[in-house]
Symmetry: C2
Subunit: 474 residues, 2 copies
């Protein structure tokens, strides 16, 4: 599939789209309006302009758009908040960009069944705010909760900072209303915890990056909201010492913390200095940020104390406990600041999302540094140490040229992915393949396996209308 397989969006088609969505909700011709829909949060070179942007409000409208696109052979790229990190929402063959931004209703908080029903355009934090009043919470909670849409979280099976204890987004998705690539509206799952009635289409849709269906309603399992939280920030002289305590927390400590965030010395210092925090910066080789939560203050305190003790015995150089919301947020601010500071450092970077078995984290960290040296780039690392999901961020060094950086990037990524694969890991834990990582899939997946994915795509989307060119090439 290339763009030459598709037909252009004509005036007549724009007219039909206007009849389906209403004139005000079809953008065409205005470069400025279209521009923001041409990329997500990956660097500009991965972007591509859509021919037309549509903002439907209902599943019925989306069905109409997809039926039209199938008839006219025009690609449709669905988009949530555009905060993705794999180019998943980029309309790489032009065509129709379908934004769910107007489908932003929290339809129901069902506190009897501990379920929420939302549209795909709801911002994650908005749901969280509303759930607070009910003493409930949605455990699938990515780091971009202030702007990401729940529809996008589902499309990429977003992980985030709480996944150690609570798992990823998909674990809480009990039902989906979807529009299939051919325009059928189907209800999958429902307000039920268990379901083995036919294939698990809900979990096939979760993480399918907008290639198998467009979610129009999302049924989310809720949990009682933990009433107590504490955080522990621990500084280490080097990454190896820091990582070595992680499995001990879970085995010797006998607990599963809510979060175990790893920051190497470079990323931690870069962000912490922004907030004028008083840390022994010249000694810091790595930091771990733990969070524990629960229903009982005494247990949460004890868990935090256990973590401190294990870290101290494991060679930490300093630990800081946070027990108020304010103090906890102070620590998280450092962690959340890192991507922005790295971007200030240089826009020539590649935010990676590898996952390795947790016991291979030390080997992965030293492997990443070795690869960095080979190509003459920096490879700072932060990430979710509790689940082996490491955000290595190769960066162009100040004295390196942009040309050199762009020339080496594909080989550098290939080395990182190949190393991950050898360790039994994979190339994306929570950001997705999109088209950024598409051509590297064969490093972690046999051709027979990729063919299996192709067969499923082909079965559901025979004309390759929905988000083509993502995950794999047909």
């Amino acid at each position: 599939m290339t763009s030459s397989n598709y037909n252009p969006v004509t005036k007549e088609i724009i007219g039909e789209l206007q009849r389906i969505c209403g004139e005000a909700f079809v953008y065409a011709g205005d470069e400025k309006k279209l521009d923001k829909y041409s990329r997500d949060k990956v660097p500009e070179q991965y972007g591509h302009m859509p021919e037309v942007v549509v903002l439907p409000k209902t599943a019925g409208e989306i069905s109409g758009i997809l039926k039209l696109a199938n008839r006219e052979i025009i690609p449709v790229t669905p988009r949530a908040a555009g905060s993705g990190l794999s180019g998943g929402a980029v309309p790489i063959y032009g065509g129709i960009l379908l934004s769910v931004e107007r489908m932003d209703e929290i339809i129901e908080i069902d506190d009897q069944n501990l379920m929420a029903v939302v549209e795909p355009g709801v911002i994650t934090n908005k749901l969280d705010e509303k759930l607070r009043d009910y003493g409930l919470f949605f455990a699938g909670y990515p780091m971009s909760e202030e702007f990401c849409f729940i529809g996008g979280n589902v499309a990429e099976n977003a992980g985030g900072g709480r996944a150690v204890k609570y798992g990823v987004t998909g674990q809480y998705i009990q039902g989906l209303e979807i529009v299939t690539p051919t325009g059928d509206i189907i209800q999958l799952g429902g307000k039920r915890i268990k379901d083995v009635t036919g294939y698990n289409m809900v979990q096939l849709m979760v993480g399918s990056e907008g290639t198998l269906g467009i979610y129009t309603r999302i049924i989310i399992k809720l949990l009682p909201r933990p009433t107590h939280r504490q955080a522990v920030l621990v500084l280490f002289a080097d990454a190896e010492t820091a990582i070595a305590v992680v499995p001990k927390i879970m085995t010797a400590g006998g607990m599963v913390p809510t979060s175990i965030e790893f920051m190497d010395g470079f990323t931690f210092n870069l962000a912490a200095r922004r907030f004028d925090e008083d840390f022994p910066y010249d000694k810091i080789g790595a930091a771990l940020l733990f969070e524990v939560d629960g229903m009982q203050s005494s247990v949460v305190s004890q868990d935090a104390a256990t973590i401190r003790k294990i870290c101290r015995n494991g060679g930490a150089i300093a630990e800081y406990r946070a027990s108020t919301e304010e103090e906890i947020e102070r620590f998280w601010k450092i962690r959340k600041r890192i991507p922005w500071e790295l971007l200030r450092y240089t826009p020539h970077q590649s935010i990676e999302d590898i996952v390795v078995p947790i016991a291979s984290i030390p080997a992965a960290l030293s492997g990443l540094q070795k690869i960095g040296r080979k190509y003459g780039v920096a490879v700072p690392v932060l990430g979710h140490a509790g689940d082996g999901n490491l955000h290595a961020v190769p960066l162009k060094l100040p004295d390196d040229s942009v040309e050199h950086w762009e020339a080496i990037l594909p080989a550098l990524l290939k080395d990182i992915y190949a190393m991950t694969s050898e360790m039994g890991g994979t190339i994306s834990g929570e950001h997705g393949i999109g088209h950024k990582r598409r051509d590297y899939m064969s490093l972690v997946m046999s051709e027979t396996h990729i063919d299996l994915l192709r067969k499923i795509k082909q079965a559901l989307d025979p004309k390759h209308i929905l988000n083509p060119g993502k995950i794999f090439i047909y």
Copy 2:
């Protein structure tokens, strides 16, 4: 598809199977030997004899068998322990019955990555026993743990008594080696917690009832083993009062117990009397069995106390606490005894597996009794009250005729399933569709939805070789 679409298993084919698996591991001609492979735990009328039984030892052998079957157009029905409750392992079109009983190795307990790797024929309890030494456990734990195979648990996405807190089997399956219906061997997932590299084939395979692939290796996520458990058995005058306390435990109590098992008065008394337990039998209209677990004795005790308090305030007539392993097992014995006692009562029964949103449990319970009265049968109910999964067991009454029972059963089941569907529930939570419930799928699923399942099946198994006639008709 009917049996007439398939070719018979000839002497030549048996010869080929013997060359693949070894002569000792191919059973043919001996009715007695074949008989036990003709059914699972559903009544005899759902059984069907295989033409040949094969007991492969490796993925390579299974690949050979499936390639042969595709060439010769012979159905292959995979079988684990045969403890299923939907006819999923019954070779309804004859052909080859493929038993994984020889693939019973626990390949690895990886306590560094908190993962186990097992073959599909491992008995669930055997893994649990082994994990005990490591202070670890596998949270997906069906009630038939003493004989069911892990491969079967995965095929049906088994639930069981701990699903309230820990979820179902699928939640712990991180990787699978499968043989596809056409005989390819593929590695899906791995020892990693997060993975959004292509479609979630692992969870598509989980619960696919042996129709999309045969699992040959299973990678299981393990948790730190809770060091403390307590159980609370609570008796109520009626089901309504019992069920009303369940949501209060989770909302007002602010906890998610490990188990919340419901038994109506009929089933509880039937089983408890077998053990000569001293209960106020004539007053019991329902019973709830709670289990709580954790790492800290004080928390577990407090959780148990909270449950007792909420139950007492909610109108319980008696509560009993168990804090030693022995006492806890004494309570569970009653719960586990029920299916056997119901079978002693009459073999003319149908173990159902409906799921409803938890707030609809009271309505479902009274609806089931109404349906029972309509058809003149008893409908005792037990099940997993915490997740809405109710095992209603319609029974032939002693003075009813077998003919009448058999005549009314399809309409009775249809009424139960239709009621479930109206409540937003479904017809199977953990036992599967198999061929027992196949013809009722349209009560809970649109034809467009079933077609989606068919398309996936068709894409992966174009000749309909693997476990045909299950879940839906092509």
